[in-house]
């Protein structure tokens, strides 16, 4: 059997596993299992296929089963000096990261995870395979359903296979800390990879060629550290970047803000913000159309 045939067989098997009738939930690495609430008890569990199916370094794309862990993925890519900057638990799966739709702490430079997705094949509520996007680094052919699948917690379908855009691993990655104004740093630094701030102290990640990283860091009173501080992990707040200062100042517990992005990692429980009525009605309509019987990941809620 050729590799494409083997891959197709695994996706076909996953489609059979998902099936067409009873409620079903997809398990990844369970690193973000609580997001959106737990699936209803006794819901049948399925796992997406795992494995790197194609990595073409000169194309800077990788195609893998959605059940592939980030550990497996980064190990394969690193062999060729490449990465997909998800920055999450190595046990998380590619499909899980996309279904949850949260970006890693270097989003300031590398953008949202959705912008790294080129193609997704998913299994819909009827157990049928649906392909969207395309395998090339650039594509505007048809409606980009990949966008809807990222952050959908599996409510629109179970992600089976993913093609991602890879990036070169920078020559140098260095972390610095200091008691500096994070907003001033954001203004002065050219494309920093991350600026984190807890209200008192700032952590900065600079990447690129060694001379640029050194030159960018030089004017500031920085101390070099090995990496970011631990992230408070009870709640995650999303605000406009300009409102970060106000939110951090009013935080009652430990927090860490992603400057220029608008995420605050906090030890307080965060209640999801409400969705405007018109948007909510469109989103409910999409749920109704794409999973009329509500059999995909029942119990989980994207809409609160």
């Amino acid at each position: 059997m050729t590799q494409p045939e083997a891959m197709q067989q695994e996706v076909d098997q996953f489609a059979k596993d998902v099936g067409a009738s009873d409620p079903v939930t997809v398990i990844g690495g369970k690193t973000h299992w609580q997001v959106g609430g737990l699936p209803e008890p006794e819901t049948r569990e399925v796992r997406a296929p795992a494995g790197i199916w194609a990595h073409e370094p000169e194309e800077m794309t990788v195609r893998c089963g959605a059940g592939t862990t980030l550990g497996q993925l980064s190990e394969e890519l690193a062999r060729h000096g490449q990465m997909v900057p998800f920055d999450m638990d190595v046990n998380a799966t590619v499909g899980g990261v996309l279904a949850v739709g949260r970006s890693g702490f270097r989003r300031l430079r590398y953008g949202h995870v959705r912008d790294l997705v080129l193609q997704i094949r998913h299994i819909d509520h009827r157990g049928k395979i649906v392909s969207s996007g395309g395998p090339t680094v650039k594509n505007v052919s048809g409606y980009d359903l990949c966008r809807l699948l990222v952050g959908s917690l599996g409510k629109f379908g179970c992600i089976a296979e993913v093609t991602l855009r890879c990036l070169p691993i920078p020559e140098t990655t260095r972390w610095f800390t200091g008691s500096l104004d994070p907003f001033e740093l954001h203004e002065k630094l050219y494309r920093p990879s991350s600026i984190l701030w807890n209200g008192l102290q700032v952590w900065v990640c600079l990447e690129g060629v060694a001379s640029d990283v050194a030159a960018q860091a030089a004017p500031f009173n920085f101390e070099e550290v090995t990496g970011p501080p631990p992230f408070p992990n009870v709640g995650r707040l999303s605000v406009e970047p300009k409102d970060l200062e106000r939110h951090v100042a009013s935080s009652k517990s430990a927090c860490l803000a992603e400057i220029g992005v608008g995420i605050i990692h906090t030890n307080e429980v965060v209640h999801p913000p409400s969705i405007p009525d018109v948007n909510l009605s469109l989103m409910r309509d999409l749920e109704e159309r794409l999973d009329p019987k509500g059999r995909l990941n029942p119990g989980r809620q994207v809409l609160n």
């Binding site: 980009d144 960018q216 469109l282």
Partner: protein, 479 residues
């Protein structure tokens, strides 16, 4: 062409809102019957609203009369996305052209859809920012059009296409409601409606305000022109640069014919004897740019580069880019008309597909000119022709189909940045199964159950559940 005479009740109602900005004169109808493609349609009425409320009223009036409508920016689209089909009301956004707010703290700007792409970047330049997508038509194309087509441009190799640069969109939905899709926060709650709207070619509503991301201008830019005696060496250099771990800001290629035409047009000193040139741009901090230049030189040397010219200053750089960005217009020097494809192939297949493109053009007695975004494998084969020649369009279409087939067989896609529109919708089945397209249509239908927003675009008729116009070749579209 004879335009269907305007429904007088409809026109009257539109005029009660817009006054003389609702028009049905032959001049306007003619002007808005075409876009940058070779197709032509038939608008019933052209409206020129100035704000969201007027767009909302137009959409509501159209709904009441069961009349399709179509939003239109500058009409530079190359796939017929803005060609009016089914006697629609055209909602032209030309008068909605204000930059509403530049919010440096959030690094975004709110703009109206009719703002021109280059005008926005010019406005932002003194502040140290720009809008990253830069289609070749950027002097005249609108941001609203960029959103509709998810436009690219040479610099999206490093910076990504429009979708990565639009954070929120105020939209008049096809049912007349107003919604803001996305927001300025990092993680908008709910599903990514913004993401599915970008690139939907006006079939999910009319964008009335757009929040675009501001990209910091790079401190250092270096532009290189490399020439090759063999186009294959040029293409191999493209793959090797990327494989060496370098992502240039732009990596463009021109074949011999393109070089000749462009040089005659701009006199930028392009080497007309070369078989191919690469235009490579590196940007960022000085060390990274210097390193990039070295990598490009070393890789090119291994692939038998002729000369490497580094633009000495901004003026020389602008001149080189002027050549690249005006290449399509310059084709008029050899033939008055051209037909442009936009397929993407894996970089490793560039040579193979290029050779096929030449063979296909020869076989159909056409001239192929290639000037394209090599860095991301995005081919732009231009088929130059003279529409006065009898039967030439049949040959152009047959050659186009063969090019698309060759690209998809090589593992590519239909369109990299121009969209599907009307022109490529019947090729969608080469890339997607009937079930894939039916699923796409389910999503479109959630936004527009009655099929009034830019009908008959993107998906072939058969795959649209609510297609009330349902012909294979759309009535009213002529080539």
């Amino acid at each position: 062409m004879v335009h269907k005479s305007a429904d007088q009740n409809l026109l009257g109602e539109l005029r009660s809102v817009l006054g003389d900005r609702a028009r049905d004169g032959d001049f306007e109808l003619g002007l808005y019957s075409k876009d940058g493609s070779v197709l032509e349609g038939n608008p019933m009425i052209v409206c020129l609203p100035v704000n969201t409320e007027e767009v909302q009223q137009i959409v509501r009036i159209c709904r009441k009369h069961d009349r399709p409508f179509l939003a239109r920016g500058s009409g530079t689209g190359l796939a017929g996305g803005a060609v009016p089909v089914g006697d629609p009301v055209v909602i032209a956004t030309a008068k909605m052209n204000k930059i509403l707010e530049v919010d440096l703290q959030n690094r975004i700007a709110w703009v109206e859809p009719g703002v021109l792409n280059l005008d926005l970047s010019r406005e932002l330049s003194p502040l140290g920012f720009h809008f990253a997508p830069d289609p070749s038509s950027q002097q005249v194309c609108s941001i609203g059009g960029n959103v509709a087509n998810n436009s690219g441009g040479p610099h999206c190799l490093a910076y990504g296409v429009t979708s990565a640069h639009v954070v929120a969109i105020e939209v008049v939905l096809p049912d007349g409601r107003i919604a803001v899709l996305g927001d300025l926060t990092a993680e908008t709650p709910g599903y990514d409606l913004r993401g599915i709207f970008v690139g939907s070619e006006g079939t999910m509503g009319v964008a009335t305000k757009i929040a675009v991301r501001l990209t910091a201008n790079p401190p250092e830019i270096r532009t290189l022109l490399l020439d090759f005696a063999d186009v294959r060496d040029g293409a191999a250099t493209v793959s090797a640069i990327i494989a060496a771990g370098l992502i240039p800001a732009a990596l463009e290629m021109m074949d011999q014919r393109a070089i000749e035409i462009v040089e005659a047009f701009v006199n930028a000193g392009y080497p007309t004897e070369a078989d191919a040139v690469l235009l490579v741009e590196l940007d960022g901090l000085p060390g990274g740019v210097e390193h990039g230049v070295e990598v490009v030189r070393a890789v090119a040397a291994r692939h038998h580069v002729g000369s490497v010219r580094v633009a000495a200053d901004d003026a020389e750089r602008d001149l080189l880019w002027k050549g690249r960005k005006n290449a399509f217009g310059a084709v008029a020097r050899i033939k008055p008309d051209y037909y442009l494809h936009d397929t993407v192939v894996p970089r490793g297949k560039l040579v193979e597909v290029l050779e096929k493109v030449y063979r296909i053009a020869d076989a159909h007695d056409l001239i192929a000119v290639n000037v394209f975004h090599a860095g991301d494998g995005n081919l732009h084969p231009i088929l130059a022709y003279d529409s006065k020649e009898k039967g030439v369009l049949e040959r152009v279409h047959a050659a186009g189909r063969a090019i698309i087939t060759a690209s998809i067989e090589a593992g590519g896609v239909l369109s990299g940045e121009h969209g599907i529109g009307l022109e490529k919708r019947d090729y969608m089945g080469m890339l997607f199964s009937a079930h894939d397209m039916a699923t796409q249509d389910l999503v479109r239908e959630a936004f527009d159950p009655d099929g009034l927003a830019n009908p008959l675009k993107v998906l072939p008729s058969g795959s649209r559940c609510s297609d009330s116009f349902g012909q294979h070749v759309p009535d009213g579209a002529w080539v």
